[in-house]
């Protein structure tokens, strides 16, 4: 039952899952003071980049003068040619990289002022889906998905029901005890997404989430992201897939030559603007 007609099951069960997916409010006090917070003290942007530049080692800047804001509850696509810096920009968003210059504010906190413990606390509020899934091969699907909760200190008794329900909801109820090497690309992708959303993140970042799946699964996953966004999660997806972008009326950012532009391309009906 669970592994047939997954699209409809996901749609039908989504409201039922609301209790699991409803975000808990962030505790801003736990993350220290932010000198940039005065700009929007009441509802700070989830992500705020100001004149950000990034270079690896002594190499050339691969991102230059990036100014970007992701308001709370927004849905954005990030596109651009291969090697343009999409993945690097996403890594800056979830603080896996530090910028070479400029300021990054995440959840109203200046990233430069966060110590390691605070960075990890920020990361627990961000769900990340990477192109290569990054599932742990020797852990079952259940264990992979429950990892963020385990890391957050929850006991097995506390999270078992939530993880089980979420896996059933994404159509992996029958594969809970399977190991990643035995999963198909689509199943791995859904497991990775389930892991990204299980801790009810405020921000969901996905890097080419449909890159390894067929178009039908890709559309299905997109609807899942849209539903999460409808419930308040800020979503940012990096993708090459123009068809996917055109399915939703969402903000689009394009990276070219290390600079970020608003709009799909010069010929689109959106405003072309170097941000």
């Amino acid at each position: 039952m669970e592994h047939s007609g997954q699209v409809s099951i996901i749609s039908v069960r989504f409201d039922k899952r609301r209790s699991i997916l409803t975000r808990s409010e962030p505790n801003a006090n736990s993350l220290g003071k932010n000198p940039l917070a005065s700009r929007s003290a009441e509802t700070p942007d989830i992500i705020d980049f100001r004149d950000v530049g990034l270079r690896y080692g002594r190499g050339p800047e691969i991102l230059s003068d990036v100014n970007l804001t992701l308001p709370q509850g927004s849905f954005s696509f990030l596109t651009g040619p291969s090697g343009a810096g999409k993945s690097s920009l996403l890594k800056l968003c979830y603080l896996a990289l530090a910028p070479s210059r400029g300021h990054i504010s995440v959840f109203g906190q200046d990233a430069a002022l966060l110590d390691n413990r605070e960075i990890q606390a920020v990361r627990r509020r961000i769900g990340v889906v990477l192109q290569d899934f990054t599932l742990i091969d020797h852990l079952s699907v259940f264990e992979n998905v429950s990892l963020p909760l385990r890391v957050a200190g929850q006991s097995r008794g506390q999270y078992t029901q939530d993880v089980t329900e979420l896996l059933q909801w994404v159509g992996l109820g029958h594969r809970m005890q399977a190991f990643p090497p035995t999963l198909s690309g689509g199943e791995k992708q859904r497991a990775a997404i389930a892991r990204a959303v299980i801790a009810k993140p405020n921000l969901l970042i996905a890097d080419e989430p449909t890159g390894n799946v067929d178009p039908e699964i890709g559309r299905r996953l997109l609807r899942l992201f849209a539903e999460m966004n409808r419930m308040g999660t800020t979503v940012m997806i990096a993708t090459h897939d123009i068809d996917l972008i055109q399915e939703l009326d969402a903000r689009v950012f394009r990276i070219e030559g290390g600079r970020i532009f608003k709009g799909l391309n010069a010929g689109s009906n959106r405003d072309e603007k170097h941000l």
């Binding site: 896996a96 390691n116 990890q120 990361r123 990054t134 020797h138 890391v151 005890q177």
Partner: protein
Amino acid sequence: MSRPLPAQQPILRPRGHNVRTLITVLAIMAFLAGLALLFSRATSRLSGDWQDQLSNSATVQVSLAPLSPENDFETQMGQAAETIRSLLGSQAKVTVVNQSQSQDLIRPWIGNLELPESLSLPGLITVETPKNSKAPNTVLLESQLQQNGIVASVDDHSRWADQIRGTARALVFGGTALLALLLIAGISVNLFATRAAMASQRSIISVLAQVGATDSFIAKLFVGQAGRRSASGAGIGLIAAWFIWTGLSLFSAVPELFWSGFGQALNDTLWLFGLWALFVLVCAVAAGLATKRSLSLERKRA
């Protein structure tokens, strides 16, 4: 009705390729450390026993007057012994070493030669006081004997006891130093193993960091792994050391060095247990520190 989920799986890969080899190395180190500890304890115990015996005994060497039928060896020695008894009280055990025993004492130096009757040998008297009583005061005893007309020198064995104490201290220090070196080697092996494990599980660490795991959380995983590894290795090594020592206690030609009773065996077994706990603790702490340091360096490099 859904099936119950299996037990929680360990986040780190449960067994690397080299775990068995590593446990063998740790077991050998713990075995040697266990023997070093038991040897130190036995040396210390034996030295204590000998010093106890020596501290409550003295040897009185009496310079005999020329022997005559009226004033022969037994007469002179009997008078000296009686004087000593009267000075030290009835609790002291005073034993006269007879002439043939005195001759036996110098046999190691002169061999089996027949000694002439005229050769003057000093008379020897051994004095033992009860274990918890005061040791004989040599100066006082000598002067009191002299007041009674007996020329004698009293040896309380203190020089010999000092030599034994010094030798025992050196042996215990050597054993402890060996123990410390083996612990340091165990720590080094664990540091190396932890770094190797971190390198081979880099992808897992990066997933953990991605989902918000703190350095302490990651370090705890490696601490647990090192702790289990050390507990196994040290357990095997120390149990082997215990069996070897038990065998030596039962069958050795020098049984006084080994366990002579249940009390000693139990005491040393508790020390071995303490060494096991120490071994596990230092290895786990070393792994934790190595993990945190590596993560910190990794972050700086990034």
